[in-house]
Symmetry: D2
Subunit: 333 residues, 4 copies
């Protein structure tokens, strides 16, 4: 039973159906009606006029967003555990042409307003030190924590005061939204976010993310950057269709709700073991190698995060029986 990654989850039936339906569309690149509907669809979701650009992966989405916000000679402030720093083999550096990531510490991979202020105060001016041009946060974070609208707004205010572009990596934005229960607008543009990488792949999509520019001026060059990165799929309609399928009928929220609920169930089984509060679909827990081995012997698959630490990820399609079985197995340790 797979608890190691939501990247391994299946594709939602509505997405497969939408892909099949897209087979009757016959315009190349992003000139088709489905692709062209995204601006309007995402503008509805976010209650403001946005520029929406489909892209196949979160790594590319994040990196193009950063290239929109930061010149090659600048730096991007982010958490030291951020995906853009640790898991993308230098993709942000590739797309920004060598901008530096300037790292900030903080519990649960969250950046506090105070930590951001301190980092900025400690950054020397002048041309010798790469100057900060952007701030990037992840919501939900790499440790499954969620930023509230108030927390994001506090960061957004500092970003604006320092002329920083503000990016949100939303690989698990759906999971954050379900937990927050607020409007998507509240935790994004109303809180100062300029561009969001809105993730669908981990949440029932096949290969589909959406760059959402709330500050449309910052979208200048985005389609050119996508093209020259080889990310303008010649049959983009099959990608756009996935996004539409997940947004229509709120499938994205339904999927995230299921995953989050499963994580809560595991969290209860992990009482006393939790390394971080469980606010999305990930559970980080203390566990001895011996305990981990016992669980694996029962057929449960998951990551060893660090010495004595494990990570469980609940996917949108995880059968309730699996979650119940896993919870029971953990509780029985």
């Amino acid at each position: 039973m797979r608890f190691f990654s939501d990247n391994a989850a299946s594709v939602h039936p509505a997405v497969l159906e939408a892909i099949s339906r897209a087979n009757r569309v016959d315009t190349a690149y992003d000139g088709d009606a489905i692709s062209r509907s995204l601006d309007s669809l995402l503008s509805q979701v976010f209650e403001t006029d946005v520029t929406a650009v489909w892209i196949a992966t979160g790594t590319a989405a994040n990196s193009i967003a950063l290239a929109s916000l930061c010149p090659p000679y600048g730096s991007v402030l982010c958490h030291k555990d951020a995906h853009i720093q640790n898991d993308e083999c230098g993709a942000p550096e590739f797309y920004t042409h060598g901008a530096k990531l300037a790292l900030i510490e903080g519990d649960g991979a969250k950046i506090t307003a105070e930590a951001l202020r301190q980092k900025l105060a400690a950054t020397p001016g002048g041309v010798h030190w790469a100057q900060p041009h952007a701030l990037s946060i992840t919501n939900a974070t790499e440790y499954g924590r969620v930023y509230t609208p108030e927390e994001v707004a506090a960061l957004g205010e500092i970003a604006r005061a320092h002329g920083l572009g503000f990016h949100m990596d939303g690989a698990r934005f759906a999971n954050a939204m379900v937990t927050l229960g607020c409007a998507p607008a509240d935790v994004t543009w109303r809180a100062g976010v300029d561009v969001l990488s809105f993730g669908f792949t981990k949440n029932g999509g096949m290969s589909a993310e959406c760059l959402v520019y709330f500050d449309k001026a910052k979208a200048a060059g985005v389609v050119e950057r996508r093209k020259r990165a080889g990310h303008l799929l010649s049959k983009g309609r099959y990608l756009a269709a996935q996004i539409v399928a997940l947004i229509e009928n709120d499938v994205w929220l339904e999927n995230a709700r299921a995953a989050n609920a499963g994580a809560q169930q595991l969290a209860r089984a992990c009482a006393g073991r939790l390394l971080h509060p469980v606010e999305a679909n990930e559970v980080f827990a203390r566990m001895t190698p011996d305990e981990a081995a016992q669980l694996r012997a029962q057929g449960f698959d998951f990551y060893d995060w660090a010495e004595g630490e494990v990570r469980f990820v609940v996917s949108w399609d995880q059968p309730e029986a699996e979650i119940a079985a896993f919870s029971a197995a953990i509780a029985a340790l």
Copy 2:
């Protein structure tokens, strides 16, 4: 009726089925069994031990291949009408970090051995002029012409003598193979090609190309370059499945055969108008604006290539009735 691009064609049913089947696979990135089968599958197709790397687009495939062959300070020899020069918004420059494309002329977007030799002879040595490190040709070419194994081998010999890596852009490799009727090996590694961008998207795939390294040493860094370009799909199994579906049962050849046959039919209707011999699935023809307008008025859609010139592309899924109707309409002009 669409004759403007094979990028607008539908996805073959076998591909859609394979995507559905891949939904039961649950390993992330390229760790799944389908992805891992590609080396072996492509090694069979090419009768030699290859490194095969899936990638979503031809632009990315070409550009990563060139980055494998040419350092940032070098140049890539290619035809002045090559896709890598004209249609990728600087993607080769992005991936190679600024290598130059050095352009060669020639009929039908083909590079002759003589033209290559002359270009090399005319290139000054030293550090002021970017030195050639690679040669890239397209088969079938941008004008639907096909290189024979002999022609490729003549280029390959020169490439080897000058220490150039040799890349083949095979966006329409299937169409070339059908015309040539030889073994895929004959026109690639046996003729000196180091790496092939093997295209599936235009030929019944959804978003699927395969980098095939015949010189496996040159594949060093390819998976890292793919990752940092954001092209390591987290659910890569759905991409790998497309390639497998098209290779199994020779669907790729069957599709190309249909497209090429349609192009031959149009070519006959275009007798006296042809700008290039028709050797793949594209037809380039002389046509007055008035004639073009007449065809469009009858519902036929195609590109104006240049003043007084049009391009028709026949896709794998083009109904015979459409081709017949179009042929008749052209002939009736």
Copy 3:
């Protein structure tokens, strides 16, 4: 006797003296009084408020200027024989992060307004083709031709109409100015030029060029780009001093006048052989290999430009006797 390059000429005594004087200055990087005087000094030369940035080489000056004007996904229009295209080993591509150079033909390495208009008209729009963002011309050109203020203004008007930044490579700007006899402003900002690479190295300097931004907004990021290219010399005062020494007392014009006059003398000796009108300090002439050998046997050194073509360059410090001797030798062929 050296007629192969003005890069091989000596440094003017005033420059050496200025370097010695700079030895008493003690502030690092570009914080010293000499460096800080450049804005004002160049503003006087050009009769408008400019941002002036010293840099050690023309290659770096040109490339940083282009990076100021063109995003990585754009293209720079230039002549096919431009130095930035042929002699800088891809430096523009390095600094712009992969922008393409789009080449225009024309006699004497000059771009006419008509040729520029045609090139722009022939450039497809959209994201597949790198869109032009800048125009770069060289004055005097690679063939020693000079653009008049009217010619530059005609190009400048087209550039403005198409939203192109306008760069002038002035490696031999002094030689052009002497020929034109106009105000430096007339052939630069008054004609629409946004940024000039003002060359001093070939004209009596040691290693000194000056980027002159007439459109100061376009200078954003220039000092950061210079720093990260390793071109912010830690002892910049010795570079700035060279520029000041050459501008003060019009040494730059005096030097260019001498070089141009020498070239005119050679041009007269080359009557009937000239490939281009001689308008700066370079002479391009037809010459058989046998004739060239005869001259070399007499101790004259120069470049073979192409088959049956030679190039002579007269330097600022060329003794009159050498020029006379060379003229006589050519005439005697």
Copy 4:
């Protein structure tokens, strides 16, 4: 009295003389006899056959060295306080095309073998995390500490075992050599270093550094990278002459000896205040703002390093009287 930077020091008379002498040389770029003598000269200094490449700045030297050792998708291990990380505005990222710097902690900006081993052990494999390809250390370090041959050799052994290229930033290599008293070979190639940035600018040069490749195979592409960065000076003989002037007659060692001795004198005055042992020409000391103000009021100029911390740098040309006066003033606080 200037104690804020050795970049503000004057140029040694022998260097100015050498520059004047170079005025009689007349070959461009690096084709002249002085430039061509560097390989041999540096081979003597290092008692092995090296490839020596002049370059104007330490930032460019370091960055080109790193580009020789690390592909764009790799990482360079260095100290968190390294110049390449903090003071070069992303130059390593520019030249390597986006390689990451992976930071290691340690007293005095030194990396211990143990710290290096731990960092490597903690680095995940695979394509998601940029894999280490090079190690870069600074000798003397940013805090004026010196690596012994044994310490370098211990790092060199680990580097070799992990396939890492090994770079030494020697901006103050002369100061380290004077302190160590060993052969230059002992602390470089005999200890596993592949390439050294040998600094001359801070030690009596004007703008002169030398890349010294002990592993000559790793020098592939270095002159091309220098050219396309605009660092191939067209009159390189004036740069090469500086290096020769400083090496001949051991001026480089004499200069460093003077600077180091001055630093020792200040160190004695700083007894009880020292933040780091003084092993080169820099002194880092605790000092209250009030004390610093007192010194400045007496005409002494220096950097505030951090809150309650100051840095003094003694230059090669610092008059003894200045050093004595400063020592007395410090002691009198």
